[in-house]
């Protein structure tokens, strides 16, 4: 850039910055612009699981945490779609655990019933899932398939209990304060370093 053009660019930028700095909010009530959440206005785009894996995860979510007692289940809470996002930004071992687990139950459905997992019924799915259930131990199960199911059960529950749908469903419940969907103090970043 020639020196004259460079100086011109610097001058323009600095003038714009000065102009912006000269803006002052009007006196009186502070300006407040209401917003809605992205979830309220749009639907998530799946980015991590294949469409087949996501279909398996959706079927698992209906089986593992169905709606009950007037409360939404994992499907109603969009738990599978949320987990697609969460696992996509998680460390590689967790990604591997999920992908491996979803592919495994799908392959088992094909092997046992000659159908994809999303097309088998509750009783058929139980034949695949029940052997993977383990009593709780302090350390997670060593078997990756069993560990997958243990983590999936917990993750679906958290994604469902913490969903907007659950918050709505339990809004008038006397036990809501610290229960599903309840509010708590959230700490904002405090004087963060940049």
């Amino acid at each position: 850039m020639q020196r004259r053009r460079f100086m011109q660019a610097v001058t323009t930028a600095s003038t714009a910055a000065t102009a912006a700095a000269q803006q002052t909010p009007p006196a009186g009530e502070p300006i407040k612009i209401g917003t809605v959440s992205a979830d309220a206005a749009a639907e998530p785009v799946s980015r991590f699981f294949t469409s087949r894996q996501l279909a398996v995860l959706r079927h698992l979510s209906r089986l593992i945490l169905p709606a009950s007692n007037g409360r939404p289940g994992a499907a109603e809470a969009g738990a599978a779609e949320f987990l697609d996002f969460l696992i996509s930004v998680s460390p590689a071992p967790r990604q591997q655990l999920y992908r491996g687990g979803l592919d495994f139950v799908d392959a088992e459905a094909e092997r046992l019933f000659a159908k994809p997992f999303p097309e088998i019924d509750e009783q058929q799915a139980d034949k695949i899932l029940r052997p993977l259930l383990t009593p709780w131990t302090f350390d997670p199960p060593a078997n990756p398939r069993q560990r997958f199911l243990a983590e999936l059960r917990a993750d679906l529950r958290t994604a469902t209990m913490n969903s907007k749908e659950m918050a709505r469903a339990t809004a008038n419940s006397p036990r809501r304060r610290r229960g599903p969907g309840g509010a708590a103090p959230y700490w904002l970043p405090i004087d963060p370093t940049r």
Partner: protein, 525 residues
């Protein structure tokens, strides 16, 4: 021009630093307090939110660099020290959970407020059963300070008259009614010669028992305290001619600008491991070779959950089940209670809880049926377990790794041994026996504990003692090597016991600060 006429420079602003500032300014001394993080504004920095309003729906950012902070969740993630900014290391397969807060007030902002005294079973452990060394002080030496701290922090509790669970100056509380479940467990415990009490806890003021509301404001009100936030202290400076501490070098947390602060006396109160790291990085006060050695903490975990059959299937009610119980140490007090381990443990217990879904190997409607059946019908116990002091459990400087301010980090080597494992087995077996005797149905029994550090009660690494060859500090938390250097946090501990150490840290800091002020007045520092 900087004001360089400080009498005392205090590094850290948590319980111990706050107490030191409170005592020293009351004695008329001019103090400078440096803290690595910023001041918290509860109104500005906290906001009520529902979990679904958070970016990760309450799971937390998987890449938040809080891998060892099991206590972290998405609501509080911004309060903990990032392991990316301030890393540390440990040997493969031997993790240590170093849980840190650098806000002004430190971990006093978030502690669980459980308030116990150590007893002479801990102060004189070597005399009792050879587990560890004796402290150079006894409970009697510290008792007047404990009393003052308990009044300041408004500690509630029930007096029991047990030597292993010394009573304090408690603010009175109504005993409250006991549920059937509490009565039944208490009765069975008595048959097993196990004492049952209630939790002892600091009420503080307005729900907060922290240095930011109980000690620092009073110190500021004297006009004799200056607090500098975002001051990351790198090293303690020593006068080459006199060998005395002259102050510190610190870096601004944001700009990394280097600053030098001076004072007549330096008090370290940065928390056990940060104070020790500072001494090691400064390469001072270590003629004993023991700075960093004898790292102790307390083991937390060992879960046993049981259900009261009569309270299942929607029949739980406050008369039947509910309320907490607290079993103080009862093992190894005499030959009768002796077991295959040294030291002891306490059992905090809650009744009337609902077990987490993870404890039932079920899913779908069957799982929901279980959860409904056990709702409010459970009793849950864990342990606060003693960890023996061992020379080999230690920290040292890792010259290969530096933090975001270019300061060498800590390498932490701490492992639990056979004594700790036997203690946990005994605790799990005892809880099971007690629950069964009380007619409860065992749901979960685990004698496993979390990794070292999890309790956030790291102690030792600058132990106190009378012999300068076997200790770093004297009985007033004063360096044997450098007379105008004091370390008033948990690093002075010789044994840790099972007790939350906060009351002891506060009492020691108060005692050390009064001694410091007197010595300064006498011209001895």
């Amino acid at each position: 021009m900087a004001n360089q006429n400080y009498d005392v420079l205090i590094v850290g602003s948590g319980h111990s630093g706050g107490m030191a500032a409170g005592v020293l300014t009351q004695k008329g001394l001019r103090c400078l307090m440096l803290n690595a993080g910023p001041v918290v504004d509860f109104e500005r920095d906290r906001k009520f939110k529902a979990a679904h309003e958070l970016p990760y729906r309450g799971f937390g950012n998987p890449n938040a660099h809080l891998d060892h902070v099991y206590q972290a969740n998405e609501f509080n993630a911004n309060t903990w020290v990032s392991e990316k900014e301030a890393p540390y290391s440990y040997p493969p397969g031997a993790p240590y959970n170093w849980v840190r807060v650098r806000l002004v007030g430190g971990r006093s902002l978030f502690w669980a407020r459980q308030s116990f005294r150590l007893s002479d079973y801990e102060f004189k452990a070597a005399d009792h059963d050879g587990a560890g060394d004796n402290w150079p002080i006894s409970h009697d030496d510290l008792a007047p300070y404990y009393s003052r701290v308990e009044r300041q922090f408004r500690v509630t509790g029930r007096k029991e008259g047990l030597p292993q669970f010394p009573d304090g100056d408690f603010v009175s509380v109504a005993d409250g009614s006991e549920s059937e479940c509490q009565k039944r467990i208490t009765a069975e415990a008595r048959k097993m010669e196990i004492p049952v009490s209630r939790m002892r806890a600091a009420l503080g003021e307005g729900g907060l028992a922290s240095s930011v509301n109980l000690s620092i404001p009073g110190a500021l009100a004297t006009g004799k305290l200056d607090v500098v936030q975002n001051a990351v202290v790198r090293e303690i400076t020593v006068d080459k001619d006199t060998g005395r501490a002259s102050g510190v070098i610190f870096l601004d947390r944001h700009t990394r600008r280097e600053m030098r602060a001076r004072a007549r006396v330096v008090v370290l109160a940065a928390g056990t491991l940060e104070s020790t790291r500072l001494l090691l990085n400064s390469n001072i006060a270590n003629s004993s070779g023991l700075v960093g050695r004898y790292l102790i903490d307390q083991q937390y975990g060992c879960t046993v959950i049981a259900a009261m059959p009569e309270a299942r299937d929607g029949k739980a009610n406050p008369a039947l089940i509910g309320g907490g119980l607290f079993i103080p140490r009862f093992r190894n007090l005499d030959t009768k209670s002796k077991r295959n381990f040294r030291g002891g443990y306490a059992i905090p217990m809650s009744t009337g809880s609902t077990p987490d879904a993870k404890y039932f190997p079920e899913y779908g409607a069957a799982l929901q049926k279980k959860l409904d059946s056990y709702a409010g019908a459970c009793v849950q116990g864990g342990i606060y377990g003693e960890v023996l002091p061992r020379y080999e459990n230690h920290v040292r400087i890792n010259k290969e790794q530096k933090d975001a301010w270019g300061i060498p980090t800590l390498h932490i080597e701490a492992r639990y041994g056979e004594n700790e494992r036997n203690l946990c087995r005994d605790a799990a077996d005892t809880m099971e026996e007690l629950y069964k005797a009380a007619g409860l149905e065992i749901l979960v029994k685990s004698d496993k504990v979390n990794p070292p550090g999890y309790s956030i009660h790291e102690l030792g690494t600058c132990r106190m003692g009378d012999d300068p060859k076997k200790s770093v500090l004297n009985k007033f938390n004063q360096s044997h090597d450098i007379k105008n250097l004091f370390v008033v946090d948990g690093s002075a501990f010789v044994t840790g016991g099972w007790q939350n150490p906060t009351m002891t840290i506060l009492a020691l800091s108060m005692r050390a600060s009064e001694y410091l002020a007197d010595e300064l007045k006498k011209g001895n520092l």
